[in-house]
């Protein structure tokens, strides 16, 4: 590769669009974008704001948009781009800018608190047993390093086209890690439907594409969660049962609203979102209360 790389780094103060500054950086073998940012900080602009920690794709701090793609800077190699062409580096556009490449991601930490934490069974840990394969579903989601790139790319969040509650991919993944924990006792379906707005996800899989941990966010987390929610709220038998029993949301959900199942993955995304919109607005106000919890 060339011995120099050209970077256009988008810099700016809080809430500004920012402007691109050009830096020419010496490029050694195996250098990643974060190395180039560090070189700029150490040699040209000590105040260039950027987050990083492990530089090994394990902490998820150095998220940015490199040539427009949400990426970890520590994992994106300069040699992946054509020689001589400038590489653009911008902050994650879904979150408000603090300064330069640093954004305010505090919203994520607030959303996280809405999710019912791990709820263990009522028997001592010494008796807990599960097989490796039974834990692996949860483990896939627990690989998440909270880089928030999935949140950055998710168009429901990114376009701010909504004013409803929406957990976003990271927190569907967290919910899935708990729901699919071999021993977790909580029921988060109501939370996912009302607080989480899971119906609004129209499974474009953009989140899966950018996940540096290669978690199959859409296929393995969101779609199964949608199915659980659909089974709970849109299964005609359960719907009837709630009607008779007079459950909390028993009479408000429209059974014909959305039908999310294996087949739904193939449905037209837009149509599904519209359907979700309908059902979402017909529900009563969101609640973080749990459903019946199994003992």
């Amino acid at each position: 590769m060339a011995d120099q790389a050209k970077l256009w780094v988008n810099r700016g103060e809080a809430d500004e669009d920012g402007e691109f500054f050009e830096y020419t950086v010496p490029a050694g073998e195996g250098m990643v974008v974060l190395d180039a940012i560090h070189w700029i900080q150490q040699n040209v602009e000590p105040d260039l704001a950027a987050r990083w920690n492990c530089k090994a794709a394990k902490c998820g701090s150095c998220s940015a948009e490199v040539n427009g793609k949400p990426s970890l800077m520590c994992k994106t190699r300069l040699s992946d781009f054509p020689d001589g062409e400038a590489i653009t580096v911008e902050p994650m556009r879904t979150f408000p800018r603090v300064r330069d490449l640093v954004t305010d991601v505090s919203w994520n930490y607030e959303i996280n608190q809405l999710i019912t934490p791990f709820t263990p069974p009522d028997r001592p840990q010494s008796e807990w047993r599960w097989q490796q394969k039974d834990g692996e579903r949860s483990q896939e989601f627990r690989k998440c390093i909270e880089c928030f790139l999935c949140m950055d790319t998710c168009h429901v969040l990114r376009n701010h086209e909504t004013d409803y509650e929406f957990f976003g991919p990271r927190f569907f993944v967290r919910a899935a890690s708990l729901e699919m924990h071999p021993l977790d006792q909580a029921d988060r379906k109501e939370q996912l439907k009302y607080d989480g707005g899971i119906g609004y996800c129209n499974i474009n899989k953009c989140c899966t594409d950018v996940c540096p941990e290669h978690i199959k966010i859409t296929d393995n987390a969101i779609i199964p969660l949608k199915e659980r929610v659909a089974d709970e709220y849109y299964d005609p038998v359960r719907w009837l049962w709630r009607k008779i029993r007079g459950g909390r949301y028993g009479s408000s959900a429209d059974g014909a609203g959305i039908a999310v199942s294996e087949e739904a993955a193939a449905l037209d995304a837009r149509a599904e979102a519209d359907a979700a919109d309908t059902s979402g607005s017909s529900g009563s106000s969101g609640s973080s209360g749990k459903g019946a919890s199994a003992d």
Binding site: E29, M31, W52, A56, G60, V98, Y109, Q125, G135, E146
Partner: protein, 602 residues
């Protein structure tokens, strides 16, 4: 002008130790503030890969706390604080089980219990793990737990000074990186859980956060540091390409059967096993292979472990020596090979190593060897603490985790640090809570203290001219890596101390431009002050200890010396100077001594 956040207990650091301490304080019913330099969940704990050592005896039923205690003491060449090693060995299993109760999803044995893997210096497979991302599991579990129980976390805050009143620590002051606003945290007790010092070295597995802030804050408050000469170089860091030099390659690669070879293809670790412990290791390639096969099949092995599972100090020196004597790999390391195992096994047990090499070095570790070499990884030394409560020598100040010292002696065994965080994080949290509960109301800081501290914070912006902190940082790193590295000698150490004295002078003239809002150059100035303090303590302690033991190797004093068997080197502030003293090692009680039967010397 300044934001004030009073709490019963202030915890500085949100890695494993800090978060575990926070949970303990909250369970005691107190108000807890946790400050961290990064976002919550990004602390260096996240980088821990291989596992956490606890004698659960799920894989080998011969294991128990006394064997773990013995391994820790022998691995640390008996400079460890025996009470800490005892508490750690006894309580680690309970802390691991507790993590599972809080939602951690460990890998499983065939009978469905927490799986354990072998690691260097541990007699039996002992490390509870999740593939090779155990640290992430630990921190996420504690993060979720501490938030669920109600810890107040102040993210991205740099602490510049501890506050003292009548000889007691009563809080800390600093600034929020996000907007540069000064913040005061008055408290009844403070727990330091700020991690290590790796950033003082050029080649390190540590992140930017590991700048020894806690060590330096405690030192300036008058607390004593101990064992600072013992700096662990992890044997296996990446050496190529240059951009990833120093990045950690987990010991789990060797735990799962990885073989080290030099450029001649020789399995050189056979030559470096200490005579006194040689019979703990396999005698032949065949026996080592049989041990790996048993492990892979999930069987309790009657064979002895491979030579690559010697202690870290020994393996690091072996690799360094091979390279120095001309038998290194093309990029100045040695070869570490796990590709003889089935590819699926490697990808399942070492997923993040597989990714790391594939994406950052274009190497497929299921198809060929990795190139690895030593990287600065951990400091055994730190703040001297009382074993049971983590109390420092300064009232009101507690410490736990890497910033505290004593458990690991002169060399830490892999896997012992994660359980260190849990066992002593909890203990320090409980002790701080107790101290806080018996204290009077939280006191506001005096105006003079606040004014002085804030003025000092902003001083680097006020200077008309001055040096860029990055230059000083580069020089310090070069000095520490070249003169205070794996092998040391008097002339180098004296040279290092002289240079550090010069750096300390230059520190007062550092200047930063730009805004206060998220300015990394500004942060570096305060971190550099911490790095200079710990670097001086390391160099002075290394000069004082005239022998080679554990992670401290003197070219001019080869081998262990009897007269140093019972001596810890301590450093403490004496006015503006650093006082170095020799103090007796905590006594090994007779009932514990019988557990440490293996001779540590030839």
């Amino acid at each position: 002008m300044i934001e004030t956040r009073p709490h019963d207990v202030l915890i500085i650091g949100a890695g494993g130790a800090g978060l575990r301490a926070a949970v303990a304080c909250i369970q005691a019913g107190l108000s807890v503030g946790v400050v961290c330099k990064s976002l919550l969940g990004k602390a260096h704990t996240v980088m821990a890969e291989g596992g956490m050592a606890a004698s659960l005896a799920h894989v080998d039923d011969r294991d128990g706390w006394s064997t773990h205690f013995r391994d820790t003491m022998v691995g640390g060449y008996r400079l460890n604080n025996p009470r800490m090693a005892e508490l750690h060995a006894k309580e680690a299993p309970e802390r691991v089980r507790e993590l599972e109760e809080w939602g951690a999803v460990f890998d499983r044995t065939r009978d469905g219990r927490i799986l354990q893997r072998p690691f260097g210096g541990h007699t039996y497979p002992r490390l509870a793990h999740v593939g090779d991302r155990t640290g992430l599991e630990l921190i996420r579990t504690l993060q979720d737990r501490s938030v669920a129980v109600g810890a107040q976390v102040y993210q991205e805050v740099i602490i510049t000074r501890l506050s003292m009143k009548r000889g007691r620590v009563n809080g800390a002051i600093g600034y929020r990186r996000l907007d540069g606003v000064p913040m005061a945290f008055p408290a009844k007790a403070v727990v330091l859980a700020s991690g290590g010092v790796g950033r003082a070295f050029a080649v390190t597995s540590n992140s930017w956060e590991s700048s020894g802030d806690g060590h330096a804050l405690a030192y300036r408050a008058g607390a004593e540091l101990i064992d600072m000469e013992f700096v662990q170089f992890h044997p296996t860091g990446m050496v190529h390409p240059a951009g990833v030099k120093g990045l950690l390659v987990t010991e789990a690669v060797r735990g799962e059967g990885g073989i080290l070879r030099n450029a001649d293809g020789e399995r050189f670790m056979w030559r470096y096993l200490p005579e006194a412990r040689r019979d703990e290791y396999a005698a032949t390639d065949e026996e080592a292979r049989a041990w790996v096969d048993d492990l892979t099949e999930g069987r309790q092995s009657s064979h002895r472990r491979p030579p690559e599972l010697s202690t870290r100090d020994n393996v690091a020196r072996a690799i360094y020596t091979e390279v120095k004597e001309g038998r290194g790999s093309p990029h100045g390391g040695v070869f570490l090979d796990i590709s003889y195992l089935p590819a699926e096994r490697v990808r399942t047990k070492l997923p993040s190593m597989y990714e790391q090499f594939k994406e950052l070095a274009d190497v497929d570790i299921t198809a060929g060897p990795m190139e690895v070499g030593p990287t600065m990884h951990y400091i055994m030394g730190g703040i001297r603490v009382e074993a049971d409560m983590g109390a420092t020598t300064t009232p009101g100040l507690f410490a736990a985790g890497e910033v505290a010292a004593g458990l690991h002696g002169s060399n830490r065994l892999g896997g012992n640090s994660l359980t260190d965080l849990l066992v002593f994080g909890r203990r320090a949290g409980e002790a701080a809570a107790e101290a806080a509960a018996s204290a009077k109301a939280v006191e506001e800081f005096s105006k003079r203290f606040v004014d002085e501290s804030v003025k000092a914070m902003f001083a680097p912006f006020e200077r008309e001219s001055g040096e860029d902190p990055n230059r000083l940082h580069e020089e310090l790193q070069a000095t520490m890596s070249s003169l205070v590295g794996i092998f040391r000698e008097e002339s180098d150490l004296r040279e290092a101390i002289e240079r550090i004295e010069g750096y300390k002078e230059r520190w007062h003239g550092l200047r930063i431009t730009g805004p206060r809002r998220f300015n990394p150059g500004w942060d570096l100035i305060f971190e550099l002050r911490s790095m200079l303090t710990v670097s001086e303590a390391i160099a002075r302690s290394a000069l004082e200890r005239e022998e080679s033991r554990g992670a401290h190797s003197r070219l001019d004093f080869v081998g262990m010396r009897d007269e140093w068997d019972t001596v810890n080197v301590t450093t403490a502030r004496d006015g503006e100077a650093m006082k170095v003293e020799r103090k007796p090692v905590a006594e090994l009680p007779a009932e514990l001594a019988e557990h440490v039967q293996t001779a540590v010397k030839a």
